[in-house]
């Protein structure tokens, strides 16, 4: 680890690239989240019906049907065979996320993401310990569970408590006590489990991860030879285990972040002062030499060498 590890996360990126340059993808992501929420809201707020419905199912410009594929899957295992409109809508959504990366939904569309990002920000600010860290497989267990409960009860079971649709439907149609679930997620992430919801439990994220496991759009540590071990990318990444194989890989290993857990949020690109990361496609074969052995020496060795 280098001396810069001790600097606040992202400080060096701001110094070298300017504040805007070091927050480019974060700002774009917030814009995207605002867009996908706003486009549903301008109907009920201003009578501009570009999109009707909500994230579970919608109709754009009275022609394009979109359906949440996980909600529809629950409906099917609950033994209802949907009409063609819903199936078509789900296929369109599946195709889009299979192409651009399943968990792009998580970081660019999902309305809960700003909530959990806020919780994480406060978590770091207050210096809360990381708390319960469920295993990587937990969300897949939960995904299986909700499908089993849907089949057993003959209902779209997850929608009874899904905080994502609860929040978005609440904002578009009326909230009731739906905010309690959203607050629950916030407090859970803040005090019980660091990045607990989005990065460990959420079965919707697990589902989209599976959908996009062979997606085209990927982040690559192309310039990994320049890495100076400041650790900022690990500090900002909500799924930090995805970085290691790409960043620390040897020359013959791919610099692409291929884990389906990666949400393509782009924070690692923002926060890197030496521009190690960039967006590319999964077939990018650009040479990306690993770091030479000299750079891997311990700080003590480096001091001795100096």
């Amino acid at each position: 680890m280098s001396e810069k590890t001790k600097l606040p996360t992202g400080a060096e990126a701001v110094a070298t690239k300017g504040w805007l340059g070091a927050h480019k993808w974060l700002l774009l992501r917030r814009l995207s989240q605002a867009f996908f929420l706003g486009i549903f809201l301008i109907g009920p707020w201003f009578g501009l019906w570009i999109v009707k419905g909500n994230l579970a199912g919608s109709l754009t410009l009275d022609t394009l049907p979109l359906t949440d594929p996980l909600v529809l899957l629950q409906s099917i295992v609950a033994r209802h065979w949907p009409e063609m409109t819903a199936i078509l809508g789900a296929l369109i959504v599946l195709a889009a996320y299979a192409l651009i990366g399943g968990r792009v939904y998580c970081s660019w569309v999902c309305p809960i993401n700003p909530v959990t990002d806020g919780a994480h920000w406060l978590h770091e600010k207050l210096g809360v310990q990381k708390g319960w860290q469920p295993k990587k497989s937990t969300r897949y267990w939960l995904l299986a569970m909700l499908l089993i409960v849907s089949a057993a009860t003959g209902t779209v079971a997850w929608e009874f408590i899904n905080p994502i649709t609860m929040l978005q439907r609440g904002l578009v149609f009326g909230m009731g006590f739906g905010w309690t679930l959203v607050l629950g997620v916030f407090l859970f992430d803040l005090f019980v489990s660091r990045r607990g919801w989005c990065s460990h439990l959420c079965p919707v994220g697990a589902f989209y991860g599976l959908v996009g496991s062979k997606a085209l759009l990927r982040v690559s540590a192309t310039n990994r030879a320049a890495c100076d071990d400041c650790m900022d990318c690990f500090a900002v990444c909500p799924e930090m285990h995805v970085i290691t194989p790409a960043l620390r890989g040897k020359t013959e290993e791919t610099p692409l972040i291929l884990s389906p857990d990666c949400t393509n949020c782009g924070r690692c690109i923002d926060v890197c002062s030496v521009d190690v990361f960039r967006f590319t496609n999964r077939f990018d074969k650009a040479p990306a030499p690993g770091r030479d052995e000299a750079a891997r020496k311990s700080p003590a060795q480096q001091t001795r060498a100096a």
């Binding site: 109907g43 019906w49 009707k52 419905g53 909500n54 579970a56 199912g57 919608s58 109709l59 049907p65 359906t67 949440d68 909600v71 529809l72 409906s75 609950a78 033994r79 209802h80 065979w81 949907p82 009409e83 409109t85 819903a86 809508g89 295993k135 497989s137 937990t138 267990w141 939960l142 299986a144 569970m145 909700l146 089993i148 409960v149 057993a152 009860t153 003959g154 209902t155 779209v156 079971a157 997850w158 929608e159 009874f160 408590i161 649709t165 609860m166 439907r169 609440g170 578009v172 149609f173 009326g174 909230m175 009731g176 006590f177 739906g178 309690t180 679930l181």
Partner: protein, 271 residues
Amino acid sequence: MPAAVKAKPIDRRRFLLDAARAAAGCAVAGTLLGAYAGQARALPAEALRPPGALPEGDFLAACIRCGLCVRDCPYDTLALAELGEGPATGTPFFTARDIPCEMCEDIPCVKACPTGALDPALEDIGEANMGIAVLVDRENCLNALGLRCDVCYRVCPVIDEAITLDLTHNERSGHHAMFMPTVHADYCTGCGKCEKSCVLPEAAIKVLPERLARGQLGEHYRLGWEEMQEKGGPVVEGIIDLPDRLPGPGTDNLAAPGGFEPAFKMPGASQ
């Protein structure tokens, strides 16, 4: 730390324990979720589903809570249930006393439904079955008090079929009539316009879900007069039609030998 620095590539014991932990956790969470889902199935009696809605059990499997039916309802009748409101969260419903269904001929809510939770087979709104109006209070209904309110009858979109005014004798005054609003379930769509327009502070006529509004005949029951009409003769061949016991002279009326002449002849009485 000499031991266990590197986990064995396949550690069966640990794998099984982890799997057991996750499965147990999911079993607990799943049971809670299932119990909650079961609870949510109890639809409050005053919450009515949109036209064409599948039976409640199937509806909760089919509805994805997208709200497209709500958006296409021109009268703002439909709303999505909010958490804590009664019907399963996010599902569409309406309350007849607030805004009833206006029974649009083109049924836009059914057309908007992408999943078929509102059955597209419903093409004639007259066939809709959102509930059945019941005159729940036959004492406070103004017509039962001898007045000619008639509002529920007048507003009924299926007037003279779904609601008729049945003439009965007013026992209280002795010489007036009562025109009792009478619902005929075969024609009632459950739109709720009668409940909405009932002039009482609390409606005397209410739309109830079918399970509460109606009884059910045993499946083996046959209505002789209908069967007879269908067949064009007695249902059982060669049946002997015995004389019916009727009041009046010349019958076997045991209570009053000699009896009295009835004011009218019962149909089918052969004398």
